[in-house]
Symmetry: C2
């Protein structure tokens, strides 16, 4: 991978229908990309089994969330199944300006808002291999009632149409394959010729001048 210390960090935004497996892909991706900073979302929903405050989410009250909203502290916020989710703007932008790459794993409503505010991000859409597979995954998670399951599947189908707003897509058929595609997208994006390429060219200029 080609490093560039003085350039801005990348913003990787991973989204897709609930249950497509974006959480697992991001977790595995982060294991071998320790330099990438995982942005932690803020939510008013209750923690699921094994979820840890400050690691999976910042779990806060509805009152606190509304205060942050008033202060315009969010890069994005969304209401999903009655709960509020959001990402504070400062945390993400300060890292990017320092040259640190940030990973944002968020619901689709949120991703849309981030794209409006930060179109230079890399938008990655995670797809389930099939709708039937998606159903099985949500059932396994065990956090849905029959009604909310029905709602989720219908939403998922509608949401797939939003793939056109994204730069890349990953079909989560096998987690190993999906993570490999995610890794590849990251490496390729880090190898793009852009306005920072002068830093690379300057190496050779300096070498020639010092020869």
């Amino acid at each position: 991978m080609n490093e560039n210390k003085t350039s801005k960090g990348l913003l990787l935004v991973v989204s897709g229908p609930s249950g497509a497996g974006k959480g697992t892909i991001c977790k595995e991706f982060l294991k071998h990309n320790c330099n990438v900073y995982p942005s932690v979302s803020t939510t008013t929903r209750n923690p699921r089994k094994k979820e840890v405050d400050g690691v999976n989410y910042h779990f806060i009250s509805k009152e606190s969330f509304n205060e942050l909203l008033k202060e315009e502290a969010f890069l994005e916020h969304a209401k999903v199944y009655g709960n509020m989710y959001g990402t504070t703007r400062n945390t993400v932008m300060s890292k990017i300006n320092e040259g640190i790459d940030v990973l944002l794993e968020i619901e689709m409503q949120g991703a849309k808002q981030v794209k409006e505010k930060y179109p230079d991000g890399i938008y990655i859409f995670i797809l389930p291999p099939s709708l039937n597979d998606l159903k099985k995954r949500i059932e396994k998670r065990g956090s849905e009632t029959p009604e909310s399951m029905e709602k989720r599947l219908e939403s998922a189908f509608d949401e797939i149409g939003f793939i056109k707003e994204y730069n890349y897509y990953i079909i989560n058929d096998e987690i190993e394959n999906a993570v490999n595609v995610m890794d590849s997208i990251y490496i390729a994006e880090k190898s793009k010729v852009n306005e920072n390429i002068n830093n690379v060219i300057n190496r050779y200029k300096e070498e020639k001048a010092n020869a």
Copy 2:
């Protein structure tokens, strides 16, 4: 990797200064990407040790080359150190139109012409880790006189400035790393959301209609 049978193939164009190692990277890349068709260039230069006609190059006479030129059979052609090199247009374009990805490993003059004719290609620039390293590699190859070596190094330095015309760059520090970046660029490009994404969306539509 996300496959799409009805879409056009990708054209991967790999170039960079002579001696940067583009040949080795492409050879390794093709070993585990058997679906990619390696375009074989035509040249008037003499074969180097171990080079095989029809595999490394089509070795032809200056007279035959000029005839093909008259027929406008080339997608690109270039004179490099007194020898002619070229890629026939038909071979490349027929594969791409069949949906087959094509790899073109060519000199920089040629890459420029291909980009003018086919800007949708993926242009990858291979860089040596340093000018000193480049010198060592060319010496190892043993095919240069002291004068042509001097000429090559000076050209290489000038050529690095053309990196801005490319989409991606790969610093060939370790062959394994360089090939990994090349693989990643290919996987990422195959995972891009583009006009062929409807084929992906249709899977889910069909599944829903048949449910």
